[in-house]
Amino acid sequence: MDFFVAQFLTGLASACSLFLVASGLSIIFGVTRIVNFAHGAFYMLGAYVAYSLTERFSGALGFWAALVCAAALVAVLGVAMEILLLRRIYRAPELFQLLATFGVTLMVEDLVVLVFGPEDLLGPRAPGLKGAVDILGQAIPAYDLFLVALGPLVLGAIWLAFHNTRWGILVRAATQDRDMVAALGVNQKWLFTSVFALGVFLAALGGALQLPREAVNHAMDLKIIVEVFVVVVIGGLGSVTGAFLAAVLVCELNAFGVLVLPQVSLVLVFAVMALVLVLRPYGLLGRPDGAARPAIGTFITPWRPFTARERMLVAALIALVALLPLGAGVYVLSVAAEIAIFVLFAASLHFLMGAGGLPSFGHAAYFGLGAYGAAFALKLAGLSMAGAILLGPLLGLAGAVLFGWFCVRLSGVYSAMLTLAFAQIAWAVAFQWVGVTGGDNGLLGIWPQGFAATPAGFYWLALALAIMGVAALRTLIFSPFGYALRAARDNAARAEALGIDRHRIQWAAFALAGLFAAVAGALFAFLKGSVFPDTLGIPLSVDALAMVLLGGVETISGGVVGAIAYKLLSIWLMSETVHSKLVLGAVIVTLVVAFPHGIGGAFTRLRDRLGGAAA
């Protein structure tokens, strides 16, 4: 019993930082409708800057001043990002803002290593709170008790600010209806900027407060951002009280989950999140988003199949790349095979997002499940490579069927976040179920056989499957099924009134997209000769998202074009610079600002303009 009390208090203490970061994200989303992926980066920066300042400032007062100064400094950086970057893209679809802030996250990760070094940094203990307090025979760190008290205090302070100041009332009004607030003559620009400053301040303070509890390192951002997404989704986007309740819930689940089900503790939180979303689609205290923005991919240039001339051109291009083994070495062929695999992966996500209007932050789940499926088929079932590539993807299909059922029932950002949560569940299972998946050590020795054992043979296999996959997806898009899918995306009410079962058709699309991603994943396992939990991870999901947005969601070939461009760019950057994340992040940010419709969109516009001039 006493032990449980101690565990409960530890959970509450962890909830403090999580709540600070999550409330910041929630407030920013509520007013600006931006899902700030860089929030984790600001949390991490808060911890790093606080570490540096505590080294400089001395004395008890110095420590606390360092924490607050660090948060304030990082808030200034946040404001700079808002003014320089986000103001340009407020009108873009939510996913573009997510991609832009993800680019910033990549840059920050590399910058942090450049400035502070790659080692973990251990901060000082909090002066005056170094000891432990005896509660029911258990020693509880005094600093933990301080955090337990601080969480509700911050919640109270935010509540007071929102209810008793003019600014707070404007923030609440904008959360409910920002267009009306603008119509009433409030300067939205500075309201947004100030809200961003507060949100980033809270995130950085959350990071700074972790200083006495855990080592500062350059992977803190991704770890916290996933937890924060879970918290705001459970609590309801835009609700600060919801964020507090959810932070406590998540941290207690973590604290007790480890005791009860150590094998699946990571899964537990995501399972609870999925449950909450199914029962309350807008989170515990969230409200339906009244003014829904047009779904991504809604545009007024109808898609059309290739003309005869374009078909000839594509055939010629395919013939050209098929001849690559005649003149290329082993390295180039393996890079080319990897690009072919990612073309299929990105095309499957493009089908889901472009034709289906269903954004996914966790598409790597199905890619990774396909890879594991192929590995299991080879290692456990003793099948040949052909059998593994045929049957392995069924694991990805099964995952997509299961997860997709939940995802298509939610809308917009909530649905996208649920896809992220499911991907994390799959990742956690692969990571923790060491007996079957090998955990972090992965599964090794998955090499191609027969004709595919040579680099050229494997390249041709990957190319053939990628071409067949992309062709199948195109056929789907122009088939009656594809039209039904786009109908459901364009106008749900009209589609339902025309007898289309929206959930069922979107569920089928989700499963198909998962299947094609899984084929790509199975190929990837044979390309690398191994499978690791990374194949299910967030970075890979975001890569796919970046490829699709880079190529252009609105363009039918966006996935293909984006995958080739992104993959070439990242492989080239990795060979040219050690700071590949910094450069890649900067490139993503630039592209989002310069080409909001992606490469494919820019190309289509150019073609239309030239065509119009010629006609």
């Binding site: 991919g297 809604t298 545009f299 007024i300 240039t301 109808p302 898609w303 199949p305 056929t475 789907l476 122009f478 088939s479 009656p480 099924f481 594809g482 039209y483 039904a484 786009r486 109908a487 995306r489 364009d490 106008n491 009410a493 009209r494 589609a495 339902e496 009134a497 025309l498 007898g499 289309i500 079962d501 058709i505």
Partner: protein, 257 residues
Amino acid sequence: MSPPLLEAESLAKSYGGVAAVRGVSFSLAAGEILALIGPNGAGKSTCFGLLGGQVKPDAGTVRLSGQDITGAPPRRLFRLGVGRTFQIAATFASMSVRENVAVALLSHHRALARPFGRATHPHHAETDTLLDLVGLADQAGRASGELAYGDIKRLELALALANAPRLLLMDEPTAGMASGERIALMRLVARLARERNMGILFTEHDMDVVFEHADRVLVLDRGSLIAQGPPAAIRADAQVRVIYLGTGLTFAGDADA
């Protein structure tokens, strides 16, 4: 005697204490054109949602040719032969006019789940017939997202007619259209009702449209049906005049009825 085409009985719906529709009952015969009128906030759109399956009623029943369809989802109503247009015209913006109609026809012929073949190939003649009917044949290749609003309204009518409905529910069919277009559209609808013996329920703010075409008029005020009857009787009804023209002294006694 066969049951009426559409029959609503004691329909009620509240939104958090506000009774939007309270105890509405009426019936509609095949081939009849019935107008549902009332001032803003009377509950017309809620009523339409209840009949069209977009809103679930708190109480009451809806029957289609005697079959209970209360709370049935819109996609089931489509299969039962109910067509629907929305107050804000709803079409598929990313598709051309012809593709819009193709989707509706594929759904009607239960061919929408097919994952292969071109969606625009089957039902070519049927598509042309529908586009001709609403006068959009010359715009078939245009993107529906760039049509003028009046044309979108006509496209929506073509979509609603794709399943050869026996009942057509039209929520403000002519709102946002120019007056010449309004008259043409409503004449077309009225002609179809006679020719195909199709029942039509529509809401409308334009009283000229209502009194020219409706066989019968239902008047809704604050969620309750306060009058129903042929246009001439409705025009003369004291209570209806009160809600549209306000309470003059003459009617002060009846106003709170």
